[in-house]
Symmetry: D2
Subunit: 161 residues, 4 copies
Amino acid sequence: MIQIFITGGTFDKSYDSINGQLYFEKTHLPEMLKRSRCTLDIDIKTLMMKDSLEMGEQDVEMVVQACQNSQAEQIVITHGTDTMTRTAATLANAKIEKTIVLTGAMIPYAFGSSSDGFFNLGCALAFVQTQSQGVYVTMQGQCFHWNQVEKDKDKGIFYKL
Amino acid sequence: MIQIFITGGTFDKSYDSINGQLYFEKTHLPEMLKRSRCTLDIDIKTLMMKDSLEMGEQDVEMVVQACQNSQAEQIVITHGTDTMTRTAATLANAKIEKTIVLTGAMIPYAFGSSSDGFFNLGCALAFVQTQSQGVYVTMQGQCFHWNQVEKDKDKGIFYKL
Amino acid sequence: MIQIFITGGTFDKSYDSINGQLYFEKTHLPEMLKRSRCTLDIDIKTLMMKDSLEMGEQDVEMVVQACQNSQAEQIVITHGTDTMTRTAATLANAKIEKTIVLTGAMIPYAFGSSSDGFFNLGCALAFVQTQSQGVYVTMQGQCFHWNQVEKDKDKGIFYKL
Amino acid sequence: MIQIFITGGTFDKSYDSINGQLYFEKTHLPEMLKRSRCTLDIDIKTLMMKDSLEMGEQDVEMVVQACQNSQAEQIVITHGTDTMTRTAATLANAKIEKTIVLTGAMIPYAFGSSSDGFFNLGCALAFVQTQSQGVYVTMQGQCFHWNQVEKDKDKGIFYKL
């Protein structure tokens, strides 16, 4: 069984037509899995729906505990890209004996044909099945070890340290 | 470097508004890679654009030779789903010392928000980086060994033998 | 009240992933009206779901009678493009004292971002509110009188006679 | 000839993946007209790209003058929805002897399958061809006279006064 934990981020943002802002309405994960025709044994759980810049220590700790307590040994976490590497590092320090892969999106899935979200989800579900225990970040088709990745915020790209 | 070989299939079909039929106009792979924001070192080559039911022995042989001759040791092949397992078996028999992953789509990428193509491409690019030498098929988030997969044509699903 | 009668056509085709063919599953009209945020008083009724090349005399007669019997004085008909002008002519000969606008699509609505269907629906709903009694065809943003339009099947375009 | 003047608004917003905000990159009108397969004689001109809340008196005056000076007698204006009625009123006061139709979108066209933009464009191009001289607003399939419409900002809906 693969556990997907949702924390929010650009990945899951929706558009609020009343005030013209992006916000969190509901996660798109179930719809994405249905569309992918995925036959993996997956459990989805929403831990929170936050911009990763708004995730504080307690939020990150909640993610860590959820990973520790989960029955699954393979965990995918959807997360905002701005502090994804920080959460990855905190998870790594907790030395959880599982394969944990974090991913997100630079363009909301709700945007449809310009979003990278669906592709990233595919990468994450694939990597989580094949990587050995540890914490990873996948963006742009790449799989980075938690301590070998950083986000270049000016370019909107993750690169290998 | 990862080589992507294109053979066609539902994955790359387009809609011909003049006669109302699906056909092969041009591959969508470059557009998909751009949208995925992929930073992998990838070369795309179109071997053919055919419905896999129309791939004859010579077509499959062309795929085998292309894999043998490629400088890449990691190869993704986009392929129609109806004879994907046959091409996979033929590739396996050629004992090419590379990691080869075949994928396709049940709904054309051109259909936009209902297609599984973009997700499958993510899975394929991920699996090709992590699997050991051999021939694999990925659909539905799963990675099947070439000799442990069949397509259930009534249900439109790949299952593990 | 505006009546929308559905007869099928490319407008409403869906993709059958099992056999790779386009077919009629269910009409997309309710979903389109919801997405348009339409506040018009509209009733939708499916008369049939057919390729217009497969509409025989009885089918066209059914459309004529539905228009005659409808309580609405403003009627939009979604229709395949191949015989749209024939149905329009038959309707005109019935001398129904209503405003009737036929439209369709060159690319199925299900295709998402490449379809003209949603735009054509907007045109049809607008023209049906403003045109005087008579029968019209709208495609490509234009409103043609029933006896001043033909489809160029080679180019996939409607032009004014 | 129909003139389309672009002023911006939600209609034309794009997503900036670097900072996660909506902004104006380039207008989508040419792409929309191509997709609609429109055969009308249309000229597109971008007057500005602004949120309508940021349009000041000079901006609205620029719109009025553009309408006065245009060779076209049929003008569509794409505009943010928040101050669309204000611009419409100012245009009406200028007593320009043309048919002017303003429209916009509640969800950016860039969002793809959830946007009302493409439908509204169809309505606007239809109404501008059939309405007599005057200033109109079209949203939700309806055509409102400039002095008989208001936007309910809480509900995100235009209603007839």
